[in-house]
Symmetry: C2
Subunit: 317 residues, 2 copies
């Protein structure tokens, strides 16, 4: 039986909400939109090459060693000893940089996933985690998986250890919806990290841990009220909120419109709410967008259930 | 139909393991033995009186306002406006003070539970939580429910908020066993708290939160390896371990004997291990007791599954 080798693979890598209020650096979830598209195709020219990047306003480097998708793909090829394989990547950015939606993680996951698929899947999906984390680290300098893991694996992901890349899936309650609103300003992850305190009071750390535990118990039990009570960020939000214009107004609007809880997505400026049901989620999106519009600040809403699939193939030949 | 009023209730309130390595102040679990017995009986003399305390070497106060069981029972009676009700308490301490096994929490829970039962259960079980926490706070000056909640409710309990007393049950994997070993020294909770740092590095807080998340996911999924990897305490153990002679040797012995993980029970000096299955749990108990015996230090082992019931009635009439 002959095995037809793939020539080209096009994948979709979704945006992700990291931190999820109380899970600083240890929790993330995938949403349906936006997301990046990455194409990997075989080439007669040896080595990895980035043939095109679109949607980035010319800001992303084309050198594979400096590009998140390139670094992730190269890490995979090197592990296989196939770095001289002829592979072309195209990266189509469909979400803004510095948005707090895991843009660089999505490209890194897309690069590793597309190349792995093109080569006949030498690695299982979860085995791509270190390559994608390495790719993202090339962009933001930090080694953490709270965007990469949910983008790669789908759903809601706990990262027990960012060092060991030890991750665990968390169940998705059937009526859980996510509202994300991206106000049109840029916050660099590096800057948003520098604003954080180096130490936290023991009592604050304890309360944050209690909330993360409450959120996990609430997600396991589909207890929406417990989920809501747990969505409090005592560590990053108090410092980062000031980088986001109208944050308090947006928060009040979300909670008044019925959000279970509301906080910053990743390093911001995007904000997110978890909601029970689609109707609440859409009402919250409107209310939050209106709060930003009042400043005025342009803002783009995204409303979906948690994305259970993560990165996936759009087409291949 | 006549309702026969109870004259006397005798209850058993179990020992508890608080913190459970990575859940400082937010996680606790109940074990089968040891535990305190508390008797509540109607009396013709108005008001709450502590008729007897045994097993305490004469150290516990008999004034209800200064006794953990008394404070808990009084708080309940006052909430009902029945503080002039004639009630007698007997407290039979069956576990050592300052052992890290939730001794004062057990007496407080026993006092509130026995009196509530005697009065025909005006409060549901979970409604006794604030009274019991108030009772324990009378002993150690801190307001936290990580011993009281599992003693009252049984099983493994997450405390989302010690302020709001917001608690959630955590599932008990069917093959999970607990080994507790109590070395015969005393550590006062107050002293063990003062040794802790007031601030923790952000990275440490994050790793601790990841471990707590991993432990909860492991317990929900009966993933014993994930439970084991998560049982690491980066906050209290590094400071408190030095208060426990031969702690490192005991830890090495436990892990070599097959423990999933090992740490300090509450504020110590008791240590605990979680194990998969009874055989492993008994082997670990022997190995840890031998490590203490080698110093030499007398140590008492307790081996059981997690106690799913919590406080319960032994007899009543």
């Amino acid at each position: 039986m002959s095995h037809v080798r793939l020539q080209e693979v096009r994948v979709f890598a979704p945006a992700t909400v990291a931190n999820v209020a109380c899970g600083f650096d240890v929790l993330g979830l995938a949403i349906e939109q936006p997301g990046d598209e990455v194409v990997a195709r075989l080439s007669s020219r040896p080595g990895l090459r980035i043939a095109a990047v679109t949607g980035d306003g010319g800001r992303l480097p084309l050198e594979p060693e400096r590009n998140t998708a390139g670094v992730a793909a190269l890490a995979l090829l090197r592990r296989l000893g196939r770095e001289s394989e002829g592979v072309e990547l195209e990266i189509h950015k469909r979400m803004p940089f510095g948005s707090g939606l895991g843009s660089s993680a999505a490209s890194a996951v897309g690069g590793a996933f597309a190349v792995n698929r093109l080569l006949g899947e030498p690695f299982p999906r979860v085995g791509l985690l270190p390559f994608a984390v390495e790719g993202e680290a090339a962009a933001d300098g930090a080694w953490h998986a709270d965007n990469v893991a949910p983008c790669l694996l789908g759903g809601i992901t706990l990262i027990r250890s960012n060092v060991e890349l030890d991750v665990a899936p968390v169940p998705i309650p059937s009526r859980l919806w996510v509202t994300v609103v991206h106000p049109d300003i840029v916050i660099l992850t590096k800057e948003a990290r520098e604003i954080l305190p180096r130490e936290v009071p023991l009592g604050t750390a304890t309360r944050q841990t209690g909330n993360l535990g409450g959120l996990l118990c609430g997600l396991h039990a589909s207890d929406y009220r417990l989920i809501g009570r747990s969505l409090q960020d005592l560590i990053a939000e108090p410092h980062r909120a000031r980088l986001i214009p109208a944050f308090s107004a947006a928060r009040d609007a979300a909670l008044s419109a019925g959000a279970l809880g509301f906080s910053i997505s990743g390093a911001g400026p995007s904000v997110f709410a978890l909601c029970e049901g689609e109707i609440a989620a859409r009402r919250v999106a409107e209310a939050v967008a209106a709060a930003f519009a009042a400043i005025p600040l342009k803002a783009t809403p995204y409303v979906s259930p948690v994305n259970p699939r993560g990165v996936h193939v759009l087409s291949e030949r």
